[in-house]
Amino acid sequence: MSGGAKLHVRVAEVVPVNDLIKRFRFVTRDGSPMPAFSGGSHTVVEMDDHGTRRLNPYSLMSDPEDTSGYEISVRRDEAGRGGSLFMHTHVQPGMEMVLSHPLNLFQLDGRSRKHLMIAGGIGITPFLAQIKQLTHFGGRFELHYAARNRELGAYTADLKSAHGDRVHLYFDEEGQVIDLKSLLNRQPIGTHLYVCGPKGMLNWVRSTAQAQGWPEASVHFEEFLAPGTGTVFQAQLATSGKTVTVGTHQSLLEAIEAAGVDAPYLCRGGACGQCETNILHCDGTILHRDHWLTPEDQAAGTKIMPCVSRFEGKTLILER
């Protein structure tokens, strides 16, 4: 079974954090401990949305050493494909759900002298777990957290009261903006930078860091991509001898799974590389949307990440 071993859990708590965000706590059904994880890990939550199987990755925000349960925070996305709406409207305490084991694609670099964290909105969640981890190990960190306004800035009060001056808050509606250039310029050598938030913020932070001479290996980022919509297309699966039709709101990976083919996956957000698939023939254009393939690989057109990428054209034959 692709996706690794599963955790069979029960929803212990559903807590509204603000108008857009709800927090969910999961515990094992048999009372056994959950596996410990490392700050920055995510879990893939399986949802049965009235017949539609949804698998969405969410960052774990609870203490990595707390094996009594996992917590995630989900922001409701009205325009999304429906995973976050399902979590908000259908998931109730007592419900049984299935999670993947934690997977970390956004881990702290333990060699660094200092961890500089930049969060935007719901992008705060992996940092909550990382900060708890650093509190146990005594690591040095500084968090810069931007949200639309005070009401939507989740966990700001907790962070501020627990960590004081290490936490810097910015509210868009009050005209507060991170002075990024100056912030990056005054970091001691050996600092590692971590950023999680909306795409615009990621691009802004990564390009500013690069322009100011920060090495790529010192800049860590996480963005789970939603598969995105597109035109309907067909793909032939050479190994399994099937042809799948990918709907407008469906991902190629989901269409492959719906055809009964057990394709590998982990993050389902274009980040981990697990679902990489060879292209045997392509008469058309691959719409690469992942963070995994190098620009050279994407240009070569011999590989595709079916969790987020799509195709437009006549014929696509995959080795799957």
């Binding site: 001691p188 930078l193 001479g213 090495p215």
Partner: protein
């Protein structure tokens, strides 16, 4: 001095490339011996050498073969220039400079493997990724070798095998390199047949 071409080897053996000017708020250049030539070439290839020199600190020591081009580097006109008598004498200065350094600093190392490895180790200790430190080999190929038995380090090893300067064992010099120790590994060559030691060959010059 031409650049050094090393024969293909195992994965752990360090490889080197030409120094290239990169955008940065500060440039720390550390060189020994013939590495001075790489620094001259670095600036010759830079788009704005004057801008770079204004925020550049050059630290230099003569090479293990006696090559001393300190005058050439001093004449470049970097904001700071320091000539150390030896690599060992230069390391505390590098550590002190790193205490005040900020992200945005670019590192350029040039010269022998002993210089490159030890300077890299100081920089890595801050958490800076070693993959972002530029390294160009020039000059002598003598090696800094750690005896895997007594852990003692022998500098400027020329022959293979050689006698460990600490415990006296006859050591075969491997290409197996430790970035953490900044040294190649030397393994006893006559452990099974004591005294049966192949003739020493001058492999490193």
């Amino acid at each position: 001095m031409t650049k050094t071409a090393f024969p293909p080897s195992i994965k752990s053996r360090p490889v080197y490339a030409d120094l290239v000017a990169r955008p940065g708020t500060y440039h720390l250049v550390i060189a020994d011996g013939e590495g001075a030539g790489a620094v001259v070439d670095l600036l010759a290839g830079a788009a704005e050498p004057a801008v770079m020199l204004a925020v550049m600190h050059v630290v230099y020591a003569p090479g293990p073969n006696g090559t001393d081009e300190a005058a050439v580097l001093q004449a470049l006109g970097a904001a700071q220039f320091y000539r150390a008598p030896t690599i060992a004498a230069m390391l505390p200065r590098i550590a002190r400079v790193l205490l005040d350094a900020h992200m945005g600093t670019q590192f350029y190392l040039a010269g022998t493997e002993g210089l490159i490895g030890q300077a890299e180790r100081e920089i890595m200790a801050t958490g800076f990724p070693h993959t972002a430190i530029q390294k160009e080999h020039r000059g002598s190929t003598v090696r800094r070798v750690q005896c895997v038995h007594c852990k003692g380090i022998t500098e400027s090893v020329r022959t293979d095998p050689f006698a460990c300067s600490h415990c006296g064992l006859n050591l075969f010099v491997r290409d197996h390199y430790s970035r953490r120790i900044a040294a190649f590994q030397g393994v006893n060559i006559d452990a099974e047949d004591p005294g049966l030691v192949p003739a020493a060959v001058e492999r490193f010059k």
